[in-house]
Symmetry: C3
């Protein structure tokens, strides 16, 4: 019926992990998912749409959280922008900043950004309403608001601005929930074979922190060489953190890729000392 | 393979609800669902088919009950009618009566019929067998029987007759389970822009009641104006009930609609006093 | 997008069962399932693919185990064979032997082989890696290895060889997990309207056993007449067992079939005495 389509991604890595001295070797999932989406042209520039997206662990076959925990929304769009209702994925503030620069593995799995402060976390942006502006001169604005509903301690809020101008891509993200705030600024530049991006995040509230990340990619034919570095300075007892990943991706096609990586995460003088060597296969469908 | 298709509906409403003085504002789900169905022409007038239908709460992304709790059946049809096996949705008795006249929002969400007595409730019509007759001169007969299986206290039974003659649509429903019975008669008339329907249900058993409902719709272009009134007189301690809903639906297309409503439910001298103002978006796919 | 397709099977039987004298009549599921799979041609003889398969009980609508408990894998194939990662279904050793000869109802439901020793059981072949060789002169080799991951007591292993030469089909299966082993040899011959197959399995470890099964099918037009006999001699306290099934299948099409059967299982002098008369409808999609 119309444009209904199935889409998804399976992303599995074989990894040799070490956490505080304990070693393990396994097959690990990297946010595998399947979704169904569709749009309907209503005429007069109006468009209706829906997305339901299910996350699962392809290593075990188990659902990851609620059945449609990654998204279940219905939307109405037009020249005024798009309004969405339902259960939202991670905040637009996150997508505009931390997610945007995590190029080597879509910010999933054991090398995902462990230092970004998810404030309006995925689980709270249910019963939510969102507005996405049209893109005007490269500029787009997003607003998400989750209803409190006598259930949550607070109503989560996230805002984002994305700006694209040729090779330059800027983003601003804001999240706020239950007394905790996160504001982040992101930049990414495409310079031929080289892409460099990064973000700075300021978190404040019960815990406060400054969080920096820089990521670079060098592309050569089907090969991508990645470097990703993050550093968080914690306050109010939040641990300092350091994270880095080096990765090599080989694109067998636009949809399918093999990759190898090494990632390392240190929190607070060894409270967490994690590292992993991985090799993986990612297939989009 | 053949005719397998995905179908479904997302229906969310933003509501201001009040229950016995306690107020809440939220985004609420109205029986959102996704299903997969298909048919196969076996030749000689025979047809095989299947339906699996999953209900979920689009506000949170959580499954609503069992994975295929709304239906999972396989069927074989021919000139003799159709036989279905499996897990059935709500009873045919319900579909022929209460569901049929609940035109303003498919009998879902906070304005759904709260007074109809679901006897052979959805959860019991599993491990069931159903027969649907062919439609002859506008007349169709349905029978559903759920096997007891050393698990249920009783074997649920539901029967329905549907009769269509031009503008007149009549239905008779019967449900029986574990000592409780429901018999209901429904009529609905289409008179140009005006549609008027209603049903009367007699329940008897552990609790007994008389239940009346009338519903009217006035259509003007893409607009629908709805009024829906229900009244139950309880016996054996079952609460009396009153329910009414006024609604305005605007059809953006056959599949997509925006709507506003006010609904009010009173049970037994204020034991339940519920009301809600809502605005919603429903998208079929 | 490309070749993504939905497939599945609903298989329900109405049965009169008797277990150790207790009788029950019901509608029972026979491993109903729905899956989504796809492949992508990567050029140069390479192919990527994925399978996610969900099992459910069509009699109740409930999921059978983990959401994608039947399989969730991604694969990469070429002239070297195929490598798969993820959550695997039952072992290749099982598919090459016990499953292969269970022709009357796909080794599902109450007449499924109750005597085969699942050693590398389905639930353990998660976080697994598998290799399937190309088929050369009718010969194919399979290897499955589940990672232990500081979670399982042992790493499950399964191997299989399949050999096809005209009317003759041979298979060898091996499974090993946590000190228990199973080795089985299977043969199946197609002789016109008659197909005869069987396997012998030797299990050893905590329990040991010899397990024999023979199955025959006589085909006449759309009709199939089946006989299936199994006998297990247990050691180390494992019960002896006898099982037999007679079945008649009528194929309405390649996808849809009705069938009747009688099955009987005896374990250890009446510790389990099970029998069932069934009639069913199976529809593949």
């Amino acid at each position: 019926q119309g444009s209904t389509e199935i889409y998804g991604r399976i992303n599995l890595t074989a990894e040799r992990q070490e956490l505080n001295g304990a070693k393990d070797t396994g097959i690990y999932d990297n946010s595998s998912r399947i979704g169904i989406r569709g749009t309907e042209d209503l005429g007069g520039g109006l468009k209706a749409g829906f997305v339901i997206e299910h996350g699962f662990n392809a290593d075990t076959g188990a659902a990851a959280g609620a059945m449609w925990g990654r998204e279940s929304t219905v939307s109405l769009g037009g020249s005024f922008g798009t309004i969405r209702l339902g259960n939202m994925p991670a905040s637009e503030g996150y997508f505009a900043t931390a997610d945007y620069v995590s190029m080597h593995n879509h910010d999933t799995g054991s090398s995902a950004d462990a230092l970004y402060g998810f404030v309006a976390i995925a689980g709270t942006l249910n019963s939510a309403i969102a507005y996405t502006s049209p893109t005007v001169n490269g500029l787009r604005f997003d607003l998400q608001y989750g209803l409190k509903e006598n259930v949550k301690p607070d109503a989560p809020l996230s805002m984002a601005v994305n700006y694209d101008a040729g090779a330059m891509h800027l983003g601003l993200g804001y999240e706020e929930y239950d007394g905790q705030k996160s504001t982040a600024l992101r930049g990414l530049w495409e310079m031929g074979a080289i892409t460099v991006g990064g973000y700075y995040e300021r978190g404040s509230g019960t815990v406060s922190y400054n969080n920096f990340r820089i990521a670079g990619m060098y592309t050569m034919g089907a090969s991508e060489f990645h470097l990703n570095l993050g550093k968080r300075s914690g306050e109010n007892g939040l641990a300092d953190g350091d994270q880095f990943t080096v990765a090599y991706n080989y694109n067998l096609s636009k949809r399918t890729r093999v990759h190898v990586f090494y990632t390392n995460l240190d929190l607070a003088n060894g409270a967490v000392d994690f590292s992993s060597y991985g090799v993986g296969l990612r297939h989009n469908f």
